[in-house]
């Protein structure tokens, strides 16, 4: 299997406070990696840095996506290269309709890939098809992005956008937080159905629960800004039982 993402000795800080202190991680195509760890370990920082959030500064290290230097790309280019973040707190954008937002995003990516923009009919058909995957309501199209959505609807909407954009690397940041068991099942089902031998996921979670539904190939423990332990899916169960005390 080919290497999709290579992170080497990644250091990052926010407002001069160092959060990541040398993260090393290699993800091959088709793999699901879970990143677990205590609060404040740097889990969300890792997702922010990989997507180019301007609030964080990378002070050392390298990140390669399919052999390309990811850290040199602006956030929108990383997205068009196939990096997708399911936000822990999806942002509400009043006045921008889902259909306008999604059409712009999909067509920007297509333009980057040298493809023609989708016609209105093809685009709406695609929306309809992907909405079914997440059991989402038809009236979604004209609603403003995330505005007035419940916690569960917001998370479903993230995975819906993931389905629309077909990323090669999706990062699910605490996607399970704020979800009841039914919504969790729908979201996890969606993620599993989107899985192909060519795309990979990083699943960031504090709890083992989500990993019952999205089964990881590897589980990593992130503590104090470093990956301190790596194992198979059984590691998640062990962490659930023992907690993170030994890493803190």
């Amino acid at each position: 299997m080919s290497e999709l993402l290579v992170i080497k000795n990644l250091h990052a800080s926010i407002q001069d406070k160092e959060i990541l202190r040398g993260v090393n991680l290699t993800i091959r195509a088709g793999e699901v990696h879970a990143i677990m760890g205590p609060n404040g370990a740097g889990k969300s920082t890792l997702s922010a840095v990989l997507t180019g959030n301007p609030q964080y500064e990378v002070t050392e290290g390298e990140v390669w996506l399919k052999g390309k230097n990811l850290l040199q790309m602006p956030p929108e280019q990383r997205a068009r290269e196939g990096v997708f973040l399911s936000f822990q707190y999806p942002v509400e954008i009043p006045g921008v309709s889902m259909v306008n937002f999604m059409r712009t995003a999909v067509n920007e990516k297509r333009k980057y890939e040298g493809k023609e923009p989708l016609s209105a009919t093809d685009f709406l058909r695609l929306m309809r098809e992907k909405k079914k995957l997440l059991e989402m309501a038809d009236k979604l199209n004209n609603r403003s992005v995330n505005e007035g959505f419940s916690g569960g609807e917001k998370k479903k909407n993230e995975i819906f956008q993931m389905a629309m954009l077909e990323p090669c690397l999706s990062i699910l940041d605490e996607t399970d937080s704020g979800l009841d068991i039914d919504a969790l099942r729908i979201v996890a089902d969606g993620v599993n159905r989107l899985k192909t031998p060519d795309n990979s996921s990083i699943v960031i979670t504090h709890y083992q629960r989500l990993l019952d539904y999205i089964v990881p190939d590897f589980v990593h423990v992130l503590a104090n800004g470093q990956i301190v332990k790596t194992g198979g899916k059984e590691l998640a169960l062990e962490l659930e039982e023992k907690g993170y005390a030994e890493f803190e």
Binding site: T51, A79, T104, E108
Partner: protein, 213 residues
């Protein structure tokens, strides 16, 4: 001076008027909607400067007034808006939404006088002023002025001035949208409700196009 007869309905739309001075008296049951839109013109040599005064009196009961103002200004352009909404008689409804989007060194001013006279009971009046500053050199002055002399009324006002939501910008970039386009979409979203107040589709589409040129 303009008079709206009993139960008459009127919608007035103004786009890039040099200086506007309206004085309108409404009679019983009449309804009035005013939409004023200003935007910077790309090819202009001189900075644009305009002052709009809208004075409305409810002289009869059960009148309705809606005032929508939008100014999207660039360079050193300056537009001032003065509204005087006078409820002289009760049972009326007024709604004012004033929005400014200011880039570069543009300047804006809004003064909104809302008067509810002593015998104007059961009035519902609302005044909202929202301003978006796209540059640190743009300035907005806003002065709501409420004078309420009746006690059985519902009157509300709010004024906010802020910048584009950085977290929304990043969210859009994370979906592959170019930041320049993302900003445009957010600005358009901010202005949309004012443009939607223009009921003539053709007119609205034409003005929306000129706004984003």
């Amino acid at each position: 001076m303009l008079n709206l007869n009993k139960d008459e309905h009127k919608e007035l739309v103004f786009f890039n008027e040099p200086d506007l001075s309206l004085h309108i008296t409404q009679q019983e049951g009449s309804s009035l909607r005013i939409v004023v839109v200003d935007c910077s013109v790309a090819a202009a040599d001189e900075p644009r400067s305009a002052a709009h005064t809208l004075e409305i009196h409810h002289a009869g009961t059960n009148c309705r007034t809606e005032i929508y103002v939008l100014a999207y200004l660039k360079r050193k352009d300056c537009v001032r808006t003065y509204t005087r909404m006078h409820h002289d008689i009760g049972g009326g409804v007024s709604k004012q939404v004033i929005k400014y989007v200011l880039a570069d060194e543009a300047q804006g001013e809004f003064m909104g006088e809302l008067k509810i006279m002593p015998n104007a009971q059961q009035v519902s009046a609302e005044q909202t002023n929202r301003n978006l500053l796209l540059s640190e050199h743009a300035t907005m002055r806003t002065r709501p002025q409420l004078e309420i002399y009746a006690d059985d009324v519902k009157a509300g006002h709010g004024a906010t001035t802020g910048q584009l939501d950085e977290s929304a910008l990043f969210y859009m970039q994370q979906r592959g949208i170019d930041p320049t386009m993302a900003r445009q979409m957010l600005v358009q979203a901010f202005m949309q409700d004012i443009m939607d107040a223009i009921s003539d589709d053709t007119l609205r589409d034409a003005y929306c196009k000129r706004l984003t040129e």
